[in-house]
Structures are given as C-alpha cells and as structure tokens.
C-alpha cells in the first residue's frame, strides 16, 4: 500500500514539474531567443505597426545577412513591463535581441540595468546622427542606443483660418509663445476657433517649451530635480497659464479627443511632434489648408525655434546573438541612407540619420501642406534642437508637475508652486 501512495505522490509531482517546464519552453519559443539558437535568428520588439514595425520590416528587406530577424509587435506599455520584469529577475530568457525604447525612458533603463544592454560605441558612428539624440541614448561614456525616429516638433497651422484673421504662415514663423498667444486671440476673434488643444494631464506642451531653451526637469546629471529656480520652466508655466486665461485652448483629455479636435477643424494650430503628420493627413478634405512652421520659442535669451516631443531609439540587449543584432542594426538603421529614403517615402517615418536628409525623398513637395518641402524643413529644424539629457525621472516629475500646474491655474503663486514641486520631487526621487 505504502509504495503505491509513494508512487502516486511521485507521479503527481512529476506531472506538476512537467507542466511547469513545458510552460517555460512555450514562453521561450514564443519570443524565439533561447540561448543556443541566438546565432541564427534574432528577435526585435517594437510598437506601432504603422510606424516602427513597418520600419523594421523595411530594414529586414534591406538586410542581406544570413541571420533570420523575427519582428514582434507589442504595445509600448507591454514592452516596458516585460523588460522591467525580465531584466530585474536577472534572467535573459525570453528577452529580445533588439528593442525600441522611448527616449524619455532610455536613461532609466540604462542605469537601472547597467549590464543588460550591449554598447554600440564601436559599432556605429554617433556623429552620423542628430546631436540632440546622443545625450539621451548614451550612458557612462558608452553609446547604447541607435537613434531612430526624430521627435522634431513643428507648429502645424491652418492657413485658411490664419488668412481669415489677416495672417500668413510667415507671421507665425520664428515667433515667441507670447506672440503666438496674441495671434491666437485674433484668430479666435475672427474665426471663433480655438488656437490649439490643451490637455492639463499631459505636459508635453511644457516639455517642448523648455527644450527650446535647452532646459529640462532635471539637471545635467540626469537625476537632480531642477524645478525651483528653473527660469525656463517658470516661463513655460506662465505661458501655459496665459493661454488658459486668453481662452484660446480647447481642453481635451485624451489622444482621440486631441486628434478629433484638429481633424474636425476645431483648432487653428497644432504644436507637436512631426509624427502627427499621418494623423493630420487623415482629414483629406483639409488638403492644402495646412502648413508647418518652426516651433515658437520661449521669450528668453538663448531660446531657439526648434524643439522635440517624443522619439525613440533602438537598443541591443546583452544576450546571446548580440553581435548579430548589432550587425543587423549597423547594416540597416546605422548606415543605410537608402533605407531612410524608403522609410520617408513609404511610411513617412523621419529618422535622425544625418546623411539621409540629402536624398531625393526628403525634397518632395507635399501637396497636403500646400507644396511645402516638409521633410527638408523638419530635417533642418532637427539639427537645431537643443540637446538635453532627459535623465531618469521625466514621467515621475511630470506626475508631480501636473498637480502643481492645477494649483497654479487655480491661483496659487508660481514661486510657491515651484517650491512645492521641487521639495516633493526631492523627497520622492532619492
């Protein structure tokens, strides 16, 4: 009798173990990067099928190595979660070889998992890429990221609304935010349309404003909060409040409302990253009624009419197959100017590889924007973007700032608000 039960226990135990291990295998083969097979196939993770995934597909077509490239689409949030849980558990199983990371988050990954990424310092030439991308994709003297899409920002304007108020796009070229607000008031008077959309929960607007002056939420070291006494930030807050007070902003609370506002013609301008172009073009009936001018700057010494919003870069993980992955990166996004031509032509994805901007595809005149050479303009502005180290805490600080902004809009003194957010940030980000 005893033996029978012992056998039973063993059997059950085995079954449980088998169930567990087979589950593991499945998880691994799903992402296709078991250590041993790393050499003949590499895996890449990215988000957005219309943009990043499409770009990867083009890169795969352009690549003539003998390593198979598997492209896996994940939502950005999922990639962040999987990387965080995978890397912090210390196992590299199930991790991809190549991953796309948003620039605002790059430093926190590089510093939180120092040995998890494979340096590309000797693989790519960082001088080939837009300057402003380098600070955020490198760490401790090593270049880790391969700069990919440009988040160069522009001011998308409705020429027909401006005309009604007596302005031309030239009047909005190279202006300050204060001048922009004055124009906004006139446009609202003449057309009844709001000048722009504002989302009090998303301070992208503030980020773009302070970067025109080479400033950020943190100091150069990337971790000390720089809020109190940050003149650019104070100025940006004041400007934001002025927009609210002038009542030229349509309040939105999410992406679809944001897109809906300009697609339905409710706003006269959209200051944002160039990745918005496909969304603007969705409203085909508005063809020819748009133009893009440089971003307004903060009314301060040293501020320029160029800024950035978003953008991301490729990273190679320090797992088996890293050499192959790095080679794939070098042959495609790292040196292939023709690939970038295809990217702008077929996908509208604007890279930051400097040599690419000289190609024909960049010089094309865009009918939707009244024949403007949009890509050439954007590339020119890309070179002028002040480089800043986004550091570790962009989103953590922004979370604090959103509350601060609410207080400020509700009448608290700016100095007090900034003092509060500074002490909060210092307490939270040790």
């Amino acid at each position: 009798m005893k033996k029978v039960y012992l056998m039973l226990v063993l059997l059950v135990g085995l079954a449980v173990l088998a169930a567990c291990s087979s589950g593991d295998e499945e998880a691994n083969s799903g992402s296709g990067s078991e250590g041993s097979s790393g050499t003949d196939s590499i895996t890449a993770w990215a988000w957005d099928p219309a943009f990043n995934i499409a770009a990867l597909e083009k890169a795969k077509e352009a690549y003539d190595g003998d390593v198979e490239v598997k492209i896996i689409e994940n939502a950005q949030d999922d990639i962040i979660q999987k990387l965080n849980t995978g890397l912090s558990s210390g196992t590299t199983k199930g991790m991809p070889n190549i991953v796309l990371i948003e620039d605002y988050r790059a430093q926190s990954f590089l510093q939180a998992y120092p040995d998890a990424f494979h340096p590309l310092t000797d693989v790519i030439n960082s001088d080939d890429f837009a300057d402003y991308k380098i600070a955020t994709t490198s760490f401790d003297g090593e270049q880790y990221g391969l700069p990919f899409d440009s988040g160069v920002a522009g001011l998308y304007v409705r020429t027909d609304y401006l005309e009604e108020a007596g302005y031309t796009p030239e009047d909005l070229t190279d202006i300050t935010w204060d001048e922009y607000i004055e124009i906004g008031k006139k446009v609202k008077e003449a057309t009844g349309k709001n000048m722009l959309t504002l989302d009090p929960n998303d301070l992208g607007q503030i980020r773009m404003m302070i970067q025109t002056n080479g400033s950020w939420y943190v100091d150069e070291d990337g971790s000390t909060p720089n809020l109190e006494g940050n003149e650019s930030l104070a100025k940006a807050f004041e400007t934001y409040k002025k927009m609210m007070d002038a009542d030229i902003g349509k309040i939105v609370s999410d992406w679809s409302q944001f897109v809906g506002a300009f697609n339905s013609g409710d706003v006269a301008s959209v200051p944002t990253g160039n990745w918005i172009t496909p969304s603007i073009k969705q409203a085909e009936d508005q063809s020819g009624k748009w133009a893009v001018v440089p971003m307004p700057r903060l009314d301060m010494e040293g501020a320029v009419n160029a800024s950035n919003l978003g953008g991301s870069s490729w990273y190679v993980l320090n797992v088996d197959g890293k050499e192959e992955a790095a080679d794939f990166m070098l042959q495609t996004f790292g040196s292939n100017a023709d690939l970038y031509q295809t990217l702008v032509k077929d996908i509208g994805a604007l890279g930051t590889y400097s040599a690419a901007a000289e190609g024909d595809a960049y010089a094309v005149e865009d009918e939707f924007f009244g024949g403007q050479q949009l890509l050439t303009d954007l590339s020119t502005w890309t070179d002028e973007i002040p480089g800043v180290n986004y550091g570790l805490h962009t989103y953590a600080i922004e979370d604090i700032l959103v509350t601060g902004m609410q207080d400020y809009l509700n009448g608290t003194e700016l100095a007090t608000v900034l003092e509060n957010v500074q002490s909060q940030a210092e307490a939270q980000l040790k």
């Binding site: 059950v12 926190s108 990954f109 604090i400 509350t403």
Partner: protein, 315 residues
C-alpha cells in the same frame, strides 16, 4: 452564524457516517491522516510555491530600494517615505473615499434590487435580473472606455443635461477633481451592483417562506419584514459581499487608468495605479512599490477584522 441550525445538523450527518465507515478499515487513524494529506498535498505545494513564497519575498522586497535590479536593503526607509509621500497620501485618500462611499452605496442598492426581484409576483423577473447582472460580464476596460465617452465634454450625459436645461454649459466631468471621483464611483457601482445582487438573490431563496408568513400573521409590514427578517437572515452574505467589495475597491485599477488615468492632477489616482506607476511608469523602484502593496494587505486585514467584529458572530 445566525443561519438556521438545521443546516448544520444536516452537514454533520454525512461526515459522522463517513467517519464510522473509515474506522471500519484496519489501518487506523494514522493512515487516514495520510490519505487526507495526499488529497491536499498538491494544492498545498502549489499554494506555497505560487502564493506564500512570493508573499514572503515581496515582504522582504518592501525593505529594499533602488533602481530596477540594483536593490539593496534600506531598513525602514520605505515605510518612512510612505508618510511623507504626497502622491501616496493622495492615492490612499482617494481609495478611502471610493471605499467609504461606493461600498455601502452598492451593498444597499444590491440589497434593494435583490428584494424587489425576489418578489414572485413580479413580471419579467428574469429579464430584470439579467439586465442588472449583465454589466458584470462586460470587460473592465471596455466599460471604462464607454463611461469615459459618456461623461466626456461632448458626451451623451452632457448633451442630455444641456437639452433638458439642467445645466447652462457643459461640465468637463473628467477634468474636475470632484466630478471625476463621482464618475469613477458611478462606474464601479454600475459594474458591480448586479454581481453582489446575485449573492443576495441566492441567499434569499434559502430563507424559509414560513418565517415571512408568520411575520405577516403577526402584523409586520414590508419594512419591518425587511429590517427584522431579511437583513438578519442575510447577515453572513452581507458580511461576505462587503469584505469582497472592500478588497475589490482597495485594488481598483482598470477603471481609474482607463477613465481618468489618475487625473486631473492626482485627484482620482488609486493605490494600485500608484504601484503600477512606481514599477513601470517611472524609473522602476520595485522595493518601494511592494511597500505600497503591503499597505493594501494591512488595510484589507484591518478592515476585514472590523467588519467581522461589527457584522459577524457575537462569539
């Protein structure tokens, strides 16, 4: 429990019978215990590996801090940080507000619905029951998104209020700290009332009709019957639903993220969302995140004890 004692004696009977039968076997008590263990050993091992081990690890983690994988023990720093962390305090306050307003509201509504729908004379009973239960089978994300659009500036609620002259200009529900909370509470109540109602309905079916009959003969009106019979008879179920609802509300995440994403400011952020933010939205600090998680554990334990004391047995 105040359940009729007849239930208990019914349960006792088969157990004692089985006891006698097994005793007839020669192997004795020791063997019987082993057999018992054999039945539970798989689940015990599984629960230990997948529940208790992670719990202990998470507890240890709550004394560590650092970025991503570079964690080190920092003693009680995390726990001290909790009390001076305005975001945590905001999250705790919001969650408490949801809890204090939403759980009683939902329990009362569920009770009322279940009593109404238990009336055998009511026509289309099945239809109403399904209609009230149906929200429960919708996906959390899907209904949250729908609520978000219902209460948007151009949403149907605003249109309705405008057209009927209740308001003169649209209310931006989701951008107002007060209204945003109201929307969240409405949403959870809509989603979960039917779920709790089913428990009450099931319990009501088990209440002996003769008790009501006797009460009626004694001249008790409907209200007296409700408060003197229905509520006491349902007490264990009310306790159960209030504990599960409390735990559910303490862990609320999907609705907040999808309807307001914690905004405006931190006016609707919940503890779970803050844990998510600490782990994945900001530079990851899993140590501090698990400290915050343990706050939920402690709260659940405390609140459950209180609820047991208030509503539970007098023993």
């Amino acid at each position: 429990m105040n359940q009729p004692s007849s239930d208990k004696s019914k349960l006792d009977l088969p157990v004692s019978l089985r006891y006698k039968e097994t005793k007839r076997e020669k192997t004795g008590v020791f063997f019987k215990k082993k057999v018992g263990w054999l039945f539970v050993i798989v689940s015990v091992i599984a629960i230990t590996i997948f529940n208790f081990y992670p719990m202990v690890q998470a507890f240890l983690l709550s004394f560590q801090s650092g970025m991503g994988g570079n964690l080190e023990y920092t003693g009680l720093d995390n726990w001290q940080r909790l009390f001076s962390d305005p975001t945590f305090i905001a999250a705790l306050t919001n969650t408490s507000i949801y809890l204090l307003i939403q759980v009683p509201l939902m329990i009362v509504l569920a009770l009322i619905f279940s009593v109404l729908l238990n009336d055998p004379k009511l026509k289309f009973r099945g239809f109403f029951r399904i209609a009230i239960f149906l929200p429960c089978v919708t996906s959390l994300v899907a209904y949250s998104v729908i609520f978000k659009y219902l209460f948007g500036v151009d949403g149907i609620i605003n249109q309705f209020l405008l057209n009927f002259g209740f308001i003169s200009e649209t209310i931006n529900f989701l951008a107002d700290p007060f209204w945003a909370k109201v929307v969240i509470i409405l949403a959870i109540t809509w989603r979960w009332t039917g779920y709790n109602m089913i428990f009450y309905l099931a319990a009501l079916q088990n209440v002996d009709k003769s008790i009501y009959e006797a009460a009626r003969i004694d001249g008790a009106n409907a209200f007296q019957q409700f408060f003197q019979i229905t509520i006491p008879m349902l007490k264990p179920i009310i306790l159960f639903t209030s504990i599960t609802s409390t735990i559910g509300t303490l862990q609320i995440f999907d609705e907040i993220v999808n309807i307001t994403n914690g905004g405006p400011g931190n006016a609707t952020i919940s503890i779970s969302q803050y844990i998510y933010n600490l782990s994945f939205e900001f530079t990851p600090d899993f140590g501090y995140a698990s400290t915050v998680s343990y706050v939920i554990v402690i709260l659940v334990v405390i609140l459950s004890i209180i609820q047991f004391r208030v509503a539970g047995e007098k023993k």
